[in-house]
């Protein structure tokens, strides 16, 4: 069916599948995209690169019909299209594979493949036989080994991601957009993905491949467009790029300056001691120690158990076995109150879901953990509270019009500073940070990074969960590597290299 589609449109000019010109999009207080051009050729892989906050996701959400655009034109086959909602985008043959899983977890895999249009038989009944048979055939064709009758929510994330990708093949798509498709895939699955992409291009489908992984771009892309701060920086054939030129386009400066390698921190007494911690869900006999003033970096592939470990050691999640001691005193598991009292706190990776109180103000968000310290007989001394909050706003350079601003109106970087201040106001001995720079723009990233470095120098023990290699290598005094809920290796900062860390993570 795809071959026919291609021939049918064969006469269109220049072989462009979609032409976007002068695309602009603004959100309250932010210009997300300005004057962005993007032209995708049929049968080619076009990579879209850029740092977090560069505007990649805004652009593809406009293509998917999730956002409307404020300026610019989009042409498909020489026709201007509106793309007012996802339905119109699908009707134009634009299929977007989002990074977040867009599947109904209660449905079977096969039904999710045909979610956009259930095939119906006589009398309008859904043709379940066809759904099962065609998805089985599809999986067979691309060599993807999963049971079409399985409940989608039961599959591991990486397989769900593959289901999403396979879904792109089941539809009469002309343009397939993939947003960071490999972020949760194993190497085998990545190979499978590239096979799928080549199959798509053979059918004359244009593929937009959004990523910030350089190696993949050099392997799969024909052309690269780089965005930075919502603007179009460059579009060149991949042959004209080297690693360095691409990075320069993306960052606009040299990477070394972004995450300066800290001088190393002076170590004090043991601040956190974790012995034999296991949980029902993931962790298996995890033990480690961190000293005051030390940064212990945790690395692991997705699903290795970093976040689970972070939540267990601060007392958020229950544990099955093991002990946790903060500065020599035992922490009661599954009780964050004693945890906070002993001086251990978590800066969560899920800011919206577990960190922020979106409908409350900067002040209320920041003072939450330390409120008891500002109160007498249960009454809050708001003058002292306000003074303390203002102090941290100044010290951390939180950009907010006032302390009464709702936190949801701040940028990701400023939100993260507020959450960090929430803990520091309380006074901690150990801070556990989980992906501290996720979803934060480049400038704020290095600010957070410098802040953590300074805190360690001031004597705080820092446990850092991260998947960003530069962050890990730049800040950690020691690096622990996790795989499948266990610690598989611990390196001193001088012994750690990308290669031996990765080897330990895959083991």
């Amino acid at each position: 069916m795809h071959a026919e589609l291609v021939q049918e449109r064969g006469g269109a000019h220049t072989g462009a599948a979609i032409e976007m010109h002068g695309i602009g999009k603004r959100f309250p207080g932010v210009i997300a995209l300005e004057e962005v051009d993007l032209v995708l050729a049929r049968g080619k892989v076009h990579a879209l690169m850029g740092e977090n906050g560069a505007g990649k996701s805004t652009l593809i959400k406009i293509m998917a019909g999730v956002y409307g655009r404020d300026a610019g034109s989009i042409n498909i086959g020489g026709r201007e299209v509106a793309l007012r909602n996802p339905r119109e985008a699908l009707a134009e043959g634009i299929k977007v594979v989002f990074q977040e899983i867009a599947l109904i977890s209660e449905f079977t895999v096969a039904e999710n493949i045909f979610l956009e249009r259930h095939p119906v038989g006589r009398a309008g009944s859904i043709d379940w036989k066809k759904i099962r048979a065609e998805s089985a055939a599809l999986f067979e064709r691309i060599g993807f080994d999963v049971d079409p009758a399985a409940r989608t929510g039961d599959l591991p994330v990486s397989q769900q991601q593959m289901v999403e990708i396979a879904r792109a093949l089941a539809h009469e798509a002309r343009i397939v957009v993939m947003d960071e498709p490999t972020s949760s895939l194993t190497p085998n699955e990545v190979a499978l993905l590239f096979k799928v992409i080549r199959r798509l291009t053979d059918l004359g489908i244009a593929v937009l491949y959004v990523t910030h992984k350089l190696d993949e771009v050099f392997e799969i892309a024909d052309t690269v467009t780089v965005l930075r701060d919502g603007r179009h920086i460059s579009t060149r054939p991949i042959g004209e790029h080297t690693h360095d030129t691409l990075i320069q386009d993306m960052i606009g400066r040299r990477i070394d300056n972004l995450f300066p390698r800290s001088r190393g921190h002076a170590k004090g007494d043991i601040a956190l001691s974790v012995k034999g911690v296991s949980t029902d869900a993931k962790l298996d006999d995890v033990s480690f120690e961190v000293r005051a003033g030390e940064v212990l970096g945790f690395f692991g592939l997705m699903g290795a158990g970093r976040t689970e470990l972070a939540k267990a050691i601060v007392g958020f999640d229950p544990i099955r076995a093991g002990t946790i001691e903060v500065a020599g005193r035992p922490l009661k598991p599954h009780d964050t109150r004693t945890g906070a009292g002993l001086g251990i706190g978590l800066l969560t990776e899920d800011r919206k879901g577990e960190g922020l109180m979106l409908e409350l103000s900067v002040q209320q968000n920041m003072s939450l953990a330390a409120l008891g310290a500002f109160s007498r007989a249960g009454f809050v001394d708001e003058t002292r509270e306000k003074a303390a909050v203002q102090g941290f706003v100044d010290r951390f350079r939180v950009r907010t019009p006032s302390l009464n601003q709702l936190i949801k109106n701040l940028s990701g970087g400023n939100q993260q500073k507020v959450l960090l201040a929430r803990w520091l106001m309380r006074g901690l001995k150990v801070i556990v940070v989980d992906e501290p720079t996720r979803g934060i723009d480049v400038g704020a990233k290095s600010e957070i990074f410098a802040l953590l470095d300074r805190l360690a120098n001031e004597g705080l023990a820092v446990v850092m969960m991260t998947s960003e290699m530069p962050e890990l290598l730049g800040l950690s005094d020691r690096i622990a590597v996790m795989a499948e809920g266990r610690i598989t290796a611990v390196f001193d900062r001088d012994a750690a290299t990308q290669e031996n860390i990765l080897n330990a993570a895959i083991a």
Binding site: E51, A64, V66, P86, R87, L90, A91, V96, F98, A102, L103, I104, S105, E106, F107, E111, L115, E116, R117, H118, V120, G124, S125, I126, W128, V146, D147, R151, D154, L155, P156, V157, S158, T182, S183, S184, L185, T186, P187, N188, V190, H212, K213, H243, I247, M250, I251, I255, L258, F299, L301, M302, G303, A304, S467, E468, M469, P470, L502, A505
Partner: protein, 333 residues
């Protein structure tokens, strides 16, 4: 360089036997069916008159109202919304039904008038909830009040008797197939099968599940979330109307206090039947089992000559236990 190195390690799929057992246990119909059988077995032993064809047929007849309205309420729940207006709606639709029948002596016109009211109420609930984005609990609480007040205003707090005395109308609520199975039970059963088919085998039904399960994903898949929810409210309005017509036939008039508290009874049965308040989960057969459990329980307790109030107490306890069990199960498995 800013290189993210996330990747998942392969997880072997669960063994087929374990997976099947898990799937079986996850289906809320199985524990419900067992519970229903336990209830029936208990009362069959405790009372000689319980397990008779006549009594079973009667219970089925009594459960028909909650079952019919419950289909609609369950569908609204599955779409991720709530509808508690059905309690007043069953009373309200009796008014156009009886008034038009009294004026025209036509059952057909009466039913058409009742359905028209149900359609309008469903559309108003749906428009306010789906299109204006007002919390559907508030909307339908509001219409619950408005309709009940409207019924009181119109009737002056008395019943409007059926003066047309049509035999066909009488039969709807009181007739029995082969002199045994009450027609309401038959109607409810047919509607149940029809809507169960829709929910399982029509694209619309799957859209309802998708919209309730994950509205963002449904939107990305090209569904109109608003339109689907709107349709669910209309279905609920129409099914509550059918329940109201059966009730009016049984009562032989439009009674202003009919259906007081009915919304809670229906919601309780729907939730007991494993339909999740958060949307996307549950089945109509589960809902039907929930209704039957509560009906048999109420009937059986009555036979044991326990005060009818015990039924309320026991029902309340069972609902808490059932939902708590559901939650427990979800966290464990």
């Amino acid at each position: 360089m800013p290189q993210s190195l996330d990747a998942a390690h392969p997880v072997p799929p669960p063994a087929p036997a374990a997976a099947m057992l898990k799937a079986l246990f996850r289906r809320s119909e199985i524990p419900l069916l067992i519970s229903l059988l336990v209830v029936i077995a208990f009362f069959s032993i405790a009372s000689d008159t319980f397990l008779t064809t006549r009594n079973i047929a009667n219970v089925l007849g009594q459960s028909a109202l909650a079952m019919t309205a419950g289909i609609g309420v369950a569908i609204v729940f599955i779409s991720g919304e709530v509808d508690v207006s059905v309690g007043s709606l069953v009373a309200a639709v009796a008014i156009p039904l009886i008034v038009v029948m009294n004026a025209t002596e036509s059952l057909f016109l009466g039913i058409a008038a009742a359905l028209a009211l149900g359609l309008v109420v469903g559309a108003v609930n749906g428009y306010l909830s789906a299109y204006l984005g007002i919390n559907s609990l508030i909307v339908t609480l509001g219409t619950l009040f408005i309709l009940r007040g409207g019924v009181y205003l119109y009737t002056g707090q008395t019943a409007i008797p059926d003066e047309a005395m049509l035999e066909s109308f009488f039969q709807i609520g009181n007739g029995r197939l082969l002199g045994l199975l009450p027609y309401p039970a038959l109607i409810a059963f047919v509607l149940l099968l029809a809507f169960a088919y829709v929910m399982r085998h029509r694209p619309f039904g799957r859209q309802v599940y998708a919209v309730g399960g994950n509205p963002e994903v449904a939107r990305l898949a090209g569904y109109s979330v608003k339109r689907v929810k709107f349709a669910c409210f209309i279905i609920s309005g129409l099914l509550a109307t059918v329940a109201g017509i059966m009730l009016a036939s049984r009562l032989g008039s439009a009674v202003h206090v009919a259906g007081l508290g009915f919304e809670f009874q229906v919601v309780a049965a729907v939730v007991l039947g494993g339909v999740s308040l958060s949307g996307g989960i549950g089945s109509l057969f589960g809902m039907a089992l929930g209704v039957l459990i509560l009906s048999f329980l109420s009937n059986g307790l009555g036979m044991l000559a326990l005060a009818t109030e015990w039924q309320l107490v026991v029902t309340g306890g069972i609902i808490i236990a059932a939902v708590a069990f559901d939650e427990f199960k979800r966290r464990r498995i």
